[in-house]
Amino acid sequence: MSVVTEVSPDGHKLTIAVKGRFDFGRHQEFRASYEQLDKKPESIVVDLKEATYLDSSALGMLLLLRDHAGGDESDIRVVNSSSDVKKILAISNFDKLFDIS
């Protein structure tokens, strides 16, 4: 599994961990990770600790997630990005939409 999902016991927080290349090949898995939940989580953490690469379709997937989670009202943190991944997020100015660390 290259997309691993974990929901906190109270159901408020969803953590999505992406491993390896985060590109179009992850599309189905990534969408399924939040669309199949019974209850909408209040906050979402995307953990990129083990993501080696991120391309523009991954950025698109993050936008889909943001849209699903309520757009401007969403609470999404992108954590543990490697320096390469951080660079890609920085070039796209995605720090204006997501809390990136």
Binding site: G60, I91, L97
Partner: protein, 567 residues
Amino acid sequence: MQAQEPLTILIAEDSAADRLLLSTIVRRQGHQVLTAANGAEAVETFKEQQPDLVLMDALMPVMDGFEAARQIKALAGEALVPIIFLTSLTESEALARCLEAGGDDFLAKPYNQVILAAKIKAMDRLRRLQATVLQQRDLIARHHDYLLNEQRVAKAVFDKVAHSGCLSAPNIRYLQSPYALFNGDLLLAAYTPAGDMHVMLGDFTGHGLPAAVGAMPLAEVFYGMTAKGYGLTETLREMNAKLKRILPVDMFCCATLLSLSFQSRSVEVWNGGMPDGYLHRMASGERVPLPARHLPLGILSAQAFDDRTDVYPMAVDDRVFLLSDGVIDTCDANDQLFGVERLQQVFAANREPDRLFEDIEQALRDFRGQARDDVSMVEVSLLESAQTHGAAPVYSDSGQSCPLDWSASFEFRGATLRRFNPLPFLLQLLLEVHGLRAQSGALYSVLAELYSNGLEHGVLGLDSSLKRDATGFARYYEMRAARLEALQDGFVRVHLQVQPQGEGGRLTIRVEDSGKGFDVARVMERPVDNVRLSGRGIGLVRQLGRNATWSDQGRSASVEFFWEIEA
């Protein structure tokens, strides 16, 4: 067990008794039987009736089973017609010959009914598998041809859309791998009515047709608004709103837009999500990065969209270099990115500026071993303003309803000045007068100059002498943005008067502003100096228009245009 579908089975056997025995067994298993007494007959029967499977005696008169197997296999072509050899041969060499001749299996005499049934069934499975594979292969091939053809047609259309601007201008060099557009890369360039140049390098998310589809409306907005005289910020706002409206949430377009002004020797830049571009100053060799300050187009709502641009002074021959992420995101065999540092090493090692693209391509090949198919690079250099020519606009109306005697006055106030650019509207109005069309470039330049003088020096009270050096230049545009944002009061008035005169006519443009004015006499005394970054506007107005005068302590400017005969 699933009942087997009946097959048509050809039995080639020279012994009549064996033939009868085998036919009976096979028929009892539910299959239809054809028979042949030698190899030649077997080949003939195969040709006529195309059985699904062949039971073939190895040793027969006229033509033996080996030769018959070869011929039947050749006739069957890609379809699998299993041949099971019937043989009393036992030496391994002879059995091997059966398979070499094209046999798929063999059955030793005397026949064991159970084994025969099992072998027929196994061969039938293989036969079906082969048929399915062939069918799917043909289906995929058909789809593939279909897609290739669609792509070819779409590519031809998009190439026209993306290349209908002025990419062939003498100051533009670009390189796009043949299918870069199909990977979502878009390169557009067009002249504004004033002879400035707008350039856009864009990169859609995703690949193939979906990415290229977004290119159409984007190109339309870019060319349409540039030709009408809209500036970068208005064009950007419109592009963003359009993409936001039509694209799905996960699609967007990274883009860098440039507005290169040959006359004021500056470049205005907006970068949303593209890799750093570079302004290469030839005199010092310095490369000023032009980093992404914004989110890509098509993500933010019209309200949240940030259209702020940066303006940099340029000298003649300075270049702006833009590239797509295909360059820096090229990976080597170990998933290492080419990256910005390697790019900068190429910059440092580059001796001939005109060979920069080749040097970068070579570095990518050395790094990766092969070129990616989505690499786009463009370099735009600043020429002397006299060396550029905007393309003459084409008009389609007849001219029968051309207005020749009228005047109009406009007053643009606080909030309007902040956002609205009235120039395209004013130019459209003036170009209803056919006699003025031949001078549309000069007309637009003069209008633009007078309007921005009125706004920036008059209403906003900005001092043009700030623009004397590069730091002051940047400071000037920061202050312009800040004061514009805070603007409440003030006005710029534009009075237009068109009067017939002899065979032609005369246009008088008068622009007034609510500012403090300036010392007209002192400015007029200054020689026309092409090197200074500041104060070129007034010289330009005097060169392009006739009878340019300033009154009311510089708060009111007037200039005239004449035309001789009706176009």
